[in-house]
Point group: C4
Chain length 285, copies 4
């Protein structure tokens, strides 16, 4: 075995550990990574609380550097062990990985860029990659299918809600005016959505009888039309339940594992796949 | 071909572009109109924000005039190319078109009529006319059918909610009185609906133990009875889903195109229609 | 025909007009009564608005007396034309009729009893009697049946919600204390229900991190468990829809008219009934 | 019969009364206990209201001691009449019984432990033990089954909501900053959940246009995705309804009585059981 081959074997090994979750090592790596991400997000939260930051700044600072260095090593390892690094670097998770690692370095170089540090919280999105090994995904995919099937209806519904909000918001702006807090049409539209969705902060509230009358209509509307998205999703769930029990379903499912192609990073390969269904390169066994 | 015939051909052409969406030109016109309407509504919103209006008043003013002149030309063209102009002028969309064009001219003539400018926001309603070419309409019509089928139930429900609100509001007025903000029965009814729909602004809130006890009952009532409209609409959706898959449905649907009668403006003609189903005049092919 | 017989005929006639809605006169009476009730409730509302009462006190006062005298005559007529007056006087609607008529007289006799005037708003409950002629009642009875079928489940649900509220409220009282507004356990329970039902006034809000953490749990709980009553009522509606279409339903319905027994006031007689199903006395044809 | 045997018989009798609800005496005991628990919880609530405590402190104090002594006797009786006392003492209800009895004694011994008194409110949990005799339990178990069947879906849903809340909360912290009340990331996440669940206190509310825009998205999201848990639970209820009517159900149920094993306290024995299914010891007939 030549030097190059040994390197290649070593790279494949690393790829299996970092990108997949079928081997014990791959699973362990994912679990460790999961807890480090959660831990680092809690760190960021604690840092943002002034009283805690004042007291434990030194500890939080050191821990944050430890986590960042770990993520830096992981990021470099991910680039090294994949065959087409650009595919990873410009993929969704590649960008998230980069954005969740770099802010600390930048804040060290440029003074006044502390605001960027909160961007690190977006590393929480990385947990979704790890969760591919969780058994709950079957449930999640059912949710996704129900939402996708109702997508057109939900779009129509949201569109109607937005147009109604613009109309109602403009009307309230005309009726209530500045004293009640309806200082501009966008603010009034914001208030209308606050009311329609039954959130109701109360920072802006109508004071004239006419305004209160229209507010009442908006509330009853919001209270009633929530039935529409609920009805759509429920009917969809019921249909899916039925389809699964009946024989009329024409869909077939195959089990896919957590392997990802070492060349193009595509996931969702069949258990018996030998080639990537996307780029055709050979998959590691 | 005589002069008059050429005019008639030209009018038919214009009618097809402006009123219909089956030809490429008709589609293009609708898409342009759609974006101009959205753009003009955003203009109106920005104007209402004091800080933006102070800085960019000149630009907004000019852009608004450009949009208004475009709408004026469109309005006149719509009148010219239709055979019975009064049918259009006094139709729903004809009035909307007029009301969304005229305010700027009026505000120019009469000082102090600036308040009318916000009326222009109602031109947003015009997008509904354009949306007739959108494929989502099938979904919208399903929503509409579900709502229509539940209409009687929803009326009973709303009526019961309103009577309960009047009763509860009066009771709260008797119990709480002026200090807590329950200054009159209408205000108390307003508060009751704010609470029942779970909006809860908090500008008015009970302070006596008895008032809080009744407020608790109203909240639990509102929290519980939302199940009623939701249940009605959901059951209706489920029924429709079933009907569509089963053969038991006695309804028959035919496809209608976006043509509108050049005489009476009625829409919803069958693809193979040669005469308007409303006035019997011949449709353009 | 003797004097007494003429009186009896006249009484029967009056009974038909006042208590029933099958004859044109009966219908007319109900419609007039309906609008007078609505009108009188609006009067009471306007009176409670200080600014309106200050300006139009005289007009409102006169109109209120007119309405009250009308109701007084109606009340006496109802007693006269029924065979067993006590049955009416101590029935639910008899008491409502009395309570909605008497306050104005009392306020005239005893100074300082103005607060009682608002009790008149409860005459709105009288509209329910009139609504017996409305075709929507079929829908209302379906609602009622769905709610009755879910009653046991709703009781269990409400009971669980109340116990959870007491627990959570006590916990919040321990954690938050006086500064945040959690001044006593009942107040904390009130706040818990305000939060659980997603009303959220904001007059009381947690300020400590622990309190906010528990508040978060209560909110998510409230956001999630609303699915329970909704699910119950929806499933019930769906079941009813199915039953109505299928042949498996063992229920049979007969049409009942709006006649009420002249002796015992019971309603819900079959169209072909000649005797009251409750007291057996002969019904007017 | 020896002395020891008489004691044993007496113990068995007591066990039947205290732990079970099949005999008239057992039922009576449970009903009395139920009302004493409710009464004692009301006592604790009243004590926490400063104005009431100031006036009636003496009466409340005496009543509380009466209740506590009753609970102490009951607690000791429960220990005496069971064969393996440690099984009861360290069971869930054993600990609740202890915690709801001891605080008054402790507050008497240690000054400054008054805060513990509110812990007594948790004795409300004891009513669940008594409710085992209530017929509503069939309904409750249906609720439980529906929730258990939807558990995996609800977990996925809650997890997604939490991650979205952390993301959105961090974003709002970056955009809004201190003046609007978004003082730290945890506070912003708290606000996000307040908004997403449509509670909307209004103690914290966005003031910048960008913040209000994102708040609008969060609200619409919260307004829309409530359809997901509702849909899941509803579909589950509908499925259960169907299963109960159809023959396709493979589950079999047996009736269990309210007996509890005198040795290990396990409940849920079949009516015809002679031995405890858990520890094998003989059950009282």
């Amino acid at each position: 075995m030549k030097e190059e081959d040994k390197l290649s074997v070593w790279k494949n090994k690393l790829h299996e550990i970092i990108y997949e979750a079928d081997t014990p090592m791959g699973k362990l790596f994912d679990i460790i990574l999961f807890f480090i991400i959660i831990f680092s997000v809690i760190l960021i939260m604690l840092e943002s609380v002034k009283s805690i930051d004042a007291e434990y700044h030194q500890i939080l600072f050191v821990l944050e550097w430890v986590v960042t260095i770990f993520f830096t090593i992981e990021y470099i390892a991910r680039i090294i062990c994949i065959k087409k690094p650009t595919q990873y670097i410009f993929s969704f998770y590649g960008i998230i990985d980069f954005l969740s690692t770099i802010p600390l370095y930048i804040s060290y170089i440029f003074a006044g860029s502390q605001v960027l540090l909160a961007v690190r919280a977006f590393r929480l999105l990385r947990v979704f990659r790890i969760l591919k090994l969780v058994q709950f995904l079957g449930e999640a995919s059912q949710l996704k299918r129900a939402l996708r099937a109702s997508r057109a209806k939900i779009t129509v519904f949201l569109f109607a809600v937005l147009i109604a909000s613009v109309m109602m918001g403009t009307l309230m702006y005309l009726i209530e005016g500045d004293e009640a807090g309806f200082t501009s049409i966008p603010t009034s539209i914001y208030w209308t959505i606050v009311t329609l969705t039954t959130v109701g902060y109360g920072d802006i509230a109508p004071i004239t009888p006419q305004g209160q009358a229209i507010a009442t209509i908006i509330m009853l509307l919001g209270y009633g039309i929530i039935a529409v998205p609920t009805g759509m999703v429920t009917a969809e769930f019921a249909r899916q339940n039925k389809e699964r029990t009946g024989e009329s379903s024409g869909n077939r499912y195959v089990h896919v594992n957590t392997q990802s192609c070492p060349t193009c990073s595509k996931e969702g390969h069949r258990d018996d796949a030998t080639h990537c269904y996307n780029c055709g390169s050979i998959l590691n066994e």
